[in-house]
């Protein structure tokens, strides 16, 4: 199954890296969108509510990762999109991973989270 992904990071090279290692690690990526901060991520999500996974950095300008999560919850967008947030450092997110991380570690964390989601939906 291919998952649609939104990568949120203010570093363009980090977004490229994450997109690449997801593919390298064997994680099946369908549609892959990018945003450089939380505000841009919200705009993307309003246009693409089908996103399965959101990977967001914490420290970003305009709207950081924590504020993005809070906004998604207050807007009810998490339930509407069936989205799952993987934050690098989490306060209540479904998972987190800290830098530096290997392609394998990223894949394992994504599979764990999506496995739990799929089990919960069954």
């Amino acid at each position: 199954m291919a998952y649609s992904v939104l990568i949120v990071d203010d570093s363009a090279v980090m977004r490229t890296f994450i997109r690449r290692v997801m593919t390298l690690s064997g994680f099946e990526v369908g549609e892959c969108l990018e945003a450089s901060d939380g505000e841009e991520a919200l705009a993307r999500l309003r246009l693409h509510p089908q996103i399965d996974v959101i990977l967001t950095d914490i420290n970003m300008p305009k709207m950081n990762g924590e504020q993005l999560l809070e906004q998604l919850r207050s807007d009810g967008m998490l339930g509407a999109t069936k989205g799952r947030i993987l934050r690098m450092i989490s306060l209540g997110a479904d998972g987190y991973i800290t830098k530096p991380f290997s392609p394998e570690a990223l894949r394992e964390e994504l599979e764990r989270i999506l496995g739990e989601r799929n089990a919960g939906a069954a």
């Binding site: 090279v13 890296f17 991380f101 290997s102």
Partner: protein, 160 residues
Amino acid sequence: MPEQLEQSASGEISRILDEAIAEVLATMFFADLEPAPCTHSPLEHSWMSSAVSARVRFEGTHFGEAVLTISRPAAEEIASAFLGLDKEETSETDCAQVVLELANILCGSVLSRLWPESKLTLSAPVSDAMERGLEGPGHRCFQMPEGNLAWRLSVEGANR
């Protein structure tokens, strides 16, 4: 008097820093390096004249800065590996941006090892003049297959 952390002052700190940079380079930048003992002033390193550099400031329970400098051939190798591009496809802007990201990750990794319970905020990394910030005895040098890397962590003080 501000607390000064000079990497050469403690073997344990040097070991932590060496382990951190080796892990960061190997895990996300697919590169290997070895410590290269160095007693020179940064100004004596001829490779720094064309190096790519970045500076990150941190503040919170401790405050200070980290400065990273990489010779251009090594920076090009790191950038191409990180982005999955051929070297010929990797631009100077790519190199600069990847070195900024490396400095950011490296600084965060080292600080979390030195003070795991601390609350620190990193500034956005900035490109910097090659030798500025590396002055003094604390910089550490590393040898990579494609070139050189040097960096220095300076702790200017602590908020108790």
